[in-house]
């Protein structure tokens, strides 16, 4: 209810973007950035696995939105336009990384952590924090191992909670294809993360983690 009342007084993304397009309104653009910066940065982090690169990609994405404001069609959703731009930037970044001969996991330390470690709740005990960080690192590594068409669907549906039909619109593919890719992605992840599903508390997880990281690097 509160959301509905708020929506009556707050301009929609499309109305705000129209102001940006027609009048180059800097305040309107700042409002769009404030609304969408976090989702876009999360998307870029999940797609590249690196929060620092994600920060740069997010800035580039918004700069590109502003530069291409004239090509935005008011009949379409602003979010679709923005997700597409951000995803394309992520692909460009991944391609460049691959061209340089770098492995997406090269930036990670032995614990599987990139510049920014997987976030864990501070209220956990140190042991539990280490455990959670380790498991988060595994999930990130497994996601990076997924082919991009599967990874983007997982990120948009599971983490950013877009509906399947919205993802289909962003990727410009049939909704059935999106669902099939999601099913295939979950199947591959279950294989990649089997050791996490078979949770064995007494196992030496540090050794296990190192072993898994080495396996991933060998596979990439």
């Amino acid at each position: 209810m509160a959301k509905l009342i708020t929506s009556l007084f707050v301009a929609s993304d499309e109305q705000t973007m129209r102001r940006v397009k027609m009048h180059d309104d800097p305040h309107a653009f700042a409002r769009l950035v404030a609304r969408w910066e976090k989702p876009i940065q999360r998307l870029c982090t999940r797609m590249t696995g690196d929060p620092h690169r994600a920060e740069d990609l997010t800035q580039t994405a918004f700069a590109r939105v502003f530069a291409r404001r004239a090509s935005w069609e008011p009949s379409g959703r602003f979010s679709t336009f923005l997700w597409r731009i951000a995803l394309n930037l992520c692909y460009d970044d991944l391609r460049q990384t691959r061209r340089r001969g770098e492995c997406p996991l090269d930036g990670f330390d032995e614990e599987g952590n990139a510049g920014g470690e997987p976030f864990v709740a501070e209220e956990l005990s140190p042991h539990a924090q280490a455990d959670a960080r380790e498991r988060g690192g595994f999930v990130r590594d497994a996601l990076l191992r997924l082919p991009s068409p599967y990874r983007e669907v997982v990120v948009l549906r599971h983490y950013e909670a877009l509906k399947f039909h919205e993802i289909a619109e962003v990727l410009d593919i049939p909704e059935g294809t999106v669902k099939s890719r999601m099913a295939e992605a979950l199947t591959q992840l279950s294989r990649l993360l089997k050791h996490l599903s078979d949770d064995k508390p007494n196992e030496d997880k540090t050794c296990n983690h190192k072993k898994q990281t080495l396996e991933l690097r060998a596979a990439l």
């Binding site: 700042a30 982090t45 999940r46 920060e55 959670a132 279950s190 996490l196």
Partner: protein
């Protein structure tokens, strides 16, 4: 796996295995409630589908273990957003600088006399061109006005001729009527004159006769006294 099978009911009424796309809609709660109930019932009775769903649910649950820290707002984006005119202004300033430098350099390197002569020539050419254009436009206007005046004069003359002819014919008719009237009056006058002449002749004869008589009159002799 049963993923490619259809999700329609069989002839016997038993539910066929839903396909993977439908299970994804089920997993992420994007199904209509009625269909969801059907699939839950199917899940309760189908070991294969139940095992598959368990695998997918486990993967989905594990995905939640990669959590991201709170995202800081990037100040540079806000700056860029609040100054969208800055790149354009930068280019405009650069262009202005280049223009000013180019002008100054041109002033320094080119001789003033030649510049002035060129300026004069161009001004004279401009004046000639303006004069020609003005003459051309004037002659054009004059010819147009002459043509208009000619046509107007022709129209007025013909109108005048028509009115004149009408007036003349009316005048002739009036003259004829007057002449007829005059002739009638003249005839009457002649008749009267003839009458007067006759009367006068008669009077003359009487007068002559009277005179004759008067002349021949002699005083009668006086009778004896």
């Amino acid at each position: 796996m049963q993923s490619q099978e259809t999700n329609t009911r069989t002839a016997g009424g038993a539910l066929k295995h839903p396909d993977a796309t439908e299970w994804m809609a089920f997993l992420y709660a994007e199904l209509a409630p009625a269909r969801r109930c059907e699939m839950e019932r199917h899940l309760a009775h189908c070991a294969d589908c139940s095992a598959q769903m368990q695998t997918w649910r486990a993967s989905s649950r594990i995905l939640n273990e990669w959590r991201l820290p709170a995202i800081r707002r990037s100040p540079s984006i806000v700056r860029a957003a609040s100054r969208p005119w800055w790149p354009a202004l930068k280019w405009a300033m650069a262009a202005a600088l280049v223009l000013v430098l180019g002008f100054a350099l041109g002033r320094q390197t080119s001789p003033h006399g030649a510049e002035l002569a060129a300026l004069r020539t161009s001004v004279a050419q401009l004046a000639d061109a303006m004069q020609q254009e003005r003459d051309a436009s004037l002659s054009n206007a004059v010819s147009v006005a002459t043509a208009a005046a000619n046509s107007e004069a022709g129209r007025l003359l013909s109108e005048y001729a028509r009115v004149e002819a009408e007036g003349r014919s009316a005048h002739q008719q009036a003259m004829a009527a007057g002449m007829r009237n005059f002739e009638a009056r003249l005839a009457r006058l002649r008749a009267e004159l003839e009458t007067v002449a006759l009367n006068t002749e008669t009077g003359f004869e009487q007068t002559h006769e009277n005179l004759t008589r008067l002349v021949s009159f002699s005083t009668p002799p006086e009778k004896s006294k």
